[in-house]
């Protein structure tokens, strides 16, 4: 079967002309690095960096049934009481409680919402929303806005200041996990105080035709252009899970350690299964580990051993620029998941000693 041609974001020409190294990711030709993963990660932890995340799926959900539809598919509480201008992280579960995707829902007013899905799952999420719209929530309208709106994550301790300078953002008015409808570069835009790096910052969703000018203006204001390599290292340090690696439809939110993003008392798709997992406990749970020394890095699918017995698999693993050692995540039997437990990881035949640690690996000082 021939590979489908790669899609591009509206910023593709900017990445290429600025010298980024491009790789295929979730069907898109995306920048994996600009100056280098370590320099970019450092920029985000100490100043500010920008990431093109326009490949993610952006779907408008509008109309009298919009809120109820989102409330049904999302584990966060998209209830009547969800304030306007709020962004809420949560999971989309199938009927068995398996995680279809993780997604943020943004509320603009009574009947206008947006949901942002992972690029790799965008088609699946849209189809899932459409299925429930057709079955139970006919007075909701779904609009794929992925092409008309771009998305730039501006992250780091200088992120909100740069957003103020370049995009008129008011960090005192828009607190973390809030969103504002505004104008950027003379066109309508959304600015959400969210991200995927463990740093403060914003995700700007400008009209596509202004995205290139905004990217350049953010660079001129001091934000370092960054690629997917740094994004992955930073999100792992912050123990932010990656769907498709750290969770998928074979695990439920309880096993994935995401109970705090589930309103268990509510009725949502998969709620019975998720409630049962919460009440009965799960045999395995996602845990984090770090290696004693730098050494070869544990990577996804390497085996985890406790006292020589194979007990699980690494789901994400990488060198951590912040800790200057290797870190990773994996599903372990609950009894082997306590911080302090010594484990080893089989890295190409070598047993690399490591220890279970509390998550996240990195937490910014406030």
């Amino acid at each position: 079967m021939a590979d489908a041609p790669l899609r591009t974001t509206v910023l593709h020409d900017d990445h290429v002309s600025l010298g980024a190294r491009m790789v295929p990711f979730a069907g898109f030709d995306m920048p994996v690095q600009y100056a280098g993963v370590l320099a970019e990660a450092r920029a985000v932890r100490t100043a500010a960096g920008i990431f093109d995340v326009s490949h993610m799926g952006r779907f408008g959900v509008d109309g009298p049934d919009a809120r109820a539809l989102l409330d049904w598919v999302h584990t966060g509480d998209i209830g009547e009481a969800m304030p306007m201008g709020r962004a809420r992280y949560g999971l989309l579960c199938n009927e068995s409680g398996g995680i279809i995707d993780d997604a943020i829902v943004y509320r603009f007013d009574d009947e206008r919402f947006m949901i942002v899905a992972n690029a790799a799952n965008a088609g699946k999420v849209f189809a899932w929303l459409e299925r429930w719209r057709a079955e139970r929530f006919p007075n909701a309208a779904l609009t794929d806005r992925t092409a008309e709106i771009a998305m730039i994550a501006l992250q780091g301790p200088d992120g909100t200041r740069i957003a103020s300078e370049v995009a008129g953002f008011d960090p005192d008015a828009v607190r973390p996990f809030n969103v504002v409808e505004t104008q950027v570069m003379g066109a309508p835009a959304l600015i959400a105080r969210t991200g995927y790096t463990g740093e403060d910052g914003v995700e700007i969703m400008p009209a596509s035709e202004t995205a290139s000018a905004l990217w350049r203006a953010l660079m001129d204001a001091g934000a370092a252009p960054c690629g997917l390599g740094a994004r992955d290292a930073l999100r792992l340090e912050a123990a932010l899970l990656l769907h498709g690696s750290d969770m998928d439809e074979t695990v439920n939110p309880i096993e994935a350690g995401l109970t705090r993003f589930v309103r268990l008392e509510r009725d949502f798709c998969g709620a019975d299964a998720v409630r049962a997992a919460a009440e009965n406990g799960t045999a395995r749970v996602l845990a984090g580990f770090r290696t004693a020394e730098r050494g070869p890095a544990p990577r996804a699918h390497h085996r985890i051993l406790v006292e020589g017995s194979d007990v699980g698999e690494v789901t994400s693993g990488s060198y951590s620029p912040y800790l200057d050692t290797n870190i990773g995540l994996g599903y372990l039997p609950r009894e082997a998941s306590e911080p302090g437990t010594p484990i080893s990881v089989d890295v190409r035949g070598r047993q690399i000693p490591a220890q279970i640690v509390a998550l996240p690996f990195y937490k910014r000082s406030r």
Partner: protein
Amino acid sequence: MPVPEDRRYSKEHEWALPEPDGLVLIGITDFAQHELGDVVYVDLPQPGDRVTQNAQMGEVESVKAVSELFSPISGEVTAVNDEVKNAPELLNESPHEKGWLIRVKPDDPAELDSLLDAAAYTALTE
């Protein structure tokens, strides 16, 4: 960074620099370090180990991926660059000099002639 004229190159992007005493210094090229990205770990043979031309002699790992290192010549390892093991970023900063990997006593110095010269290596990477 220009490709130095004083050494030979393998198609696997290692270089081999003959030294006046007959030993050969081995490293990876600037092209290779650029392709790898930030190197965070290097696994090398020990002094006394044997390496074989075109066979794996170690591995080099960047933030994103691991790559095998292949020896450009056969011989016995006489020295290992401990500095690069402790500070793998030397491979990115100075691949042709401070980032050398191992020193080898070659079995057959004529093996160097089977490698590419600077012009041929430059052509390979263009």
